[in-house]
């Protein structure tokens, strides 16, 4: 199931959506988060759906693939829909079972909120699916640069993020190795009470933590001898190249927001 999870994963590609500057994508997604709340009528919601679906198409991703990857999130969406269904009152009463009623307003609000939530999740998933974690980190660093005036250690945070990202597969491999090693010594992780199973995790986490600290120490030494001394006087190998198409993306997003705002009722 984990292999199907799409949250936070990156699918390499060469589509237009992939090639947009990550800064533009992040800003566009932030704008979209505001724009979503402009819609208050079915035409608005329809436009939202169409917009996100065409973006998905443009990124060369199939809807079924997205749907399969987001199944877990679906629970959350259904839950919010139910909340509205049962607790939002207004309009004509459709079902009256005495201790609860379902009214038309509840259904309408429920559907609208569902669409909002689904579109927000889809567009953020699109962002992470089409942008490598590395360029996301880069983009966040550049966007947050003004915060440096407030003494936020932007560079250090970005460096930590990119090193953490780089170590995820290494630590995954390590976890797998430790699990195998402990299994070979007779540990069981899949049987017994919840308590027993949680206890069985201790012999996995302790070696994992020890080795992670050891790695961190060696890494620090390696960075130090390669002349790392913080951000001062440092140049950057990776560059982000803001082009006309990236400005166009932002303009399009703003225009889309204006259209949605105009058709508000």
């Amino acid at each position: 199931m984990l292999s199907k999870m799409l949250l936070g994963r990156y699918i390499p590609g060469t589509s237009l959506v992939h090639r947009i500057d990550p800064r533009a994508k992040i800003i566009a997604v932030l704008l979209f988060m505001i724009i979503v709340f402009f819609a208050n009528h079915w035409t608005g919601y329809l436009l939202l759906i169409l917009f996100v679906l065409s973006l998905t198409k443009l990124a060369g991703l199939s809807l079924i693939f997205l749907f399969n990857g987001l199944k877990l999130i679906l629970l959350l969406i259904i839950f919010t829909f139910m909340m509205h269904l049962f607790f939002t009152k207004g309009g004509t009463v459709l079902v009256d079972a005495g201790w609860f009623t379902i009214e038309t307003e509840g259904i309408i609000r429920g559907v609208y909120i569902t669409i909002r939530l689904a579109m927000l999740i889809l567009i953020t998933t699109l962002l992470t699916l089409t942008t490598s974690p590395l360029s996301l980190t880069d983009a966040i660093e550049r966007i947050c640069r003004p915060l440096k005036a407030l003494r936020v250690p932007v560079h250090e945070i970005a460096m930590m993020m990119s090193i953490s990202l780089r170590f995820i597969p290494t630590l995954m491999d390590e976890t797998e190795k430790i699990i195998k090693a402990q299994s070979a010594r007779g540990s069981t992780f899949m049987t017994g009470s919840l308590r027993a199973r949680l206890n069985a995790l201790t012999p996995i986490f302790i070696p994992l933590f020890i080795s992670a600290f050891k790695r961190a120490e060696e890494m620090a030494v390696a960075m130090e001898v390669r002349g790392y001394h913080g951000e001062k006087g440092r140049t950057s190998y990776r560059v982000l190249d803001w082009q006309f198409k990236d400005t166009a993306v932002i303009i399009m997003m703003v225009l889309f927001g204006i259209v949605l705002f105009m058709i508000r009722q």
Partner: protein, 262 residues
């Protein structure tokens, strides 16, 4: 070029000296191997040289200049080191990012950086992997990237601290071959730390260490000749040397000796 004068160092948690009054010379343009069993102090040697460990007695001179806190950054710029664990020294998220890391730290202009990264990757035959992530590389490939990262800095001295000990035989061969090429082409000074006697064959000079002291020093022939010193420092003799030693005492002859006997 590099001189250790009566250097003594001990780790805080241990009561014996990791390095015990060591005096050593590493000459420019030479490939020097430092051989020793675990705990012989061979890695401590380079850690002192790179300023990773502090608080030793004696002095380390580089081109006649005493190593101090002030010139340490400058020294690090001129020396490059490759460590044992391929994973724990891979800083960048991709191959080219990692090679560029040292250049970025030294504030090299981007255009120059791109050129140097490409050149260094070509020297270790890893150019086609430039955009790969470390998790998709083998140990040997990762070490080659680490060497490229060192080469990109155009160092006066390249130190390899057991750089091949975690590699499979193929990876080990590749790394050694590339090092030999670099040593030949650029006359880079190399300090090669290992516990594998079979790997010292290419070096110009070798040093055998035991319990923080130098117990033998000389050309590879001289080192192989003195099997007693090797055995006493708990090193595993290469099969041919072992065989020769067993068959006939003093069978591994120095050149002069051989000439004389003939």
């Amino acid at each position: 070029m590099i001189e250790f004068n009566d250097v003594t160092y001990s780790y805080r948690e241990e009561d014996h000296n990791a390095l015990d009054h060591i005096s050593l010379k590493f000459r420019r343009g030479e490939w020097t191997s430092v051989i020793g069993h675990n705990g012989s102090g061979k890695s401590t040697l380079v850690k002192l040289l790179m300023g990773v460990l502090e608080g030793y007695t004696g002095e380390i001179r580089i081109d006649g200049e005493v190593l101090t806190e002030e010139n340490l950054q400058d020294i690090r710029r001129r020396f490059a080191i490759v460590f044992q664990n391929p994973d724990n020294q891979f800083v960048g998220a991709t191959v080219e990012d990692d090679v560029a890391f040292g250049l970025e730290n030294n504030g090299v202009e981007r255009d120059e950086m791109v050129r140097k990264v490409e050149e260094a990757l070509r020297a270790v035959n890893m150019l086609e992997f430039r955009t790969h992530e470390p998790s998709r590389l083998s140990g040997g490939q990762k070490q080659r990237v680490a060497i490229a990262g060192a080469l990109a800095m155009e160092p006066d001295l390249l130190i390899l601290d057991e750089a091949t000990s975690m590699l499979d035989p193929q990876g080990r061969r590749d790394v050694l071959e590339i090092l030999g090429q670099i040593h030949k082409d650029k006359m880079t000074t190399i300090i090669y730390i290992t516990h594998d006697l079979a790997e010292i064959g290419v070096s110009d000079h070798a040093v055998v260490m035991k319990d923080g002291s130098v117990i033998n020093e000389g050309t590879v022939d001289e080192i192989y000749h003195d099997t007693e010193a090797l055995i006493s420092s708990r090193l595993v003799l290469p099969f041919t040397i072992w065989m020769a030693d067993r068959l006939l005492e003093g069978c591994y002859m120095l050149y002069d000796e051989l000439v004389e006997r003939l």
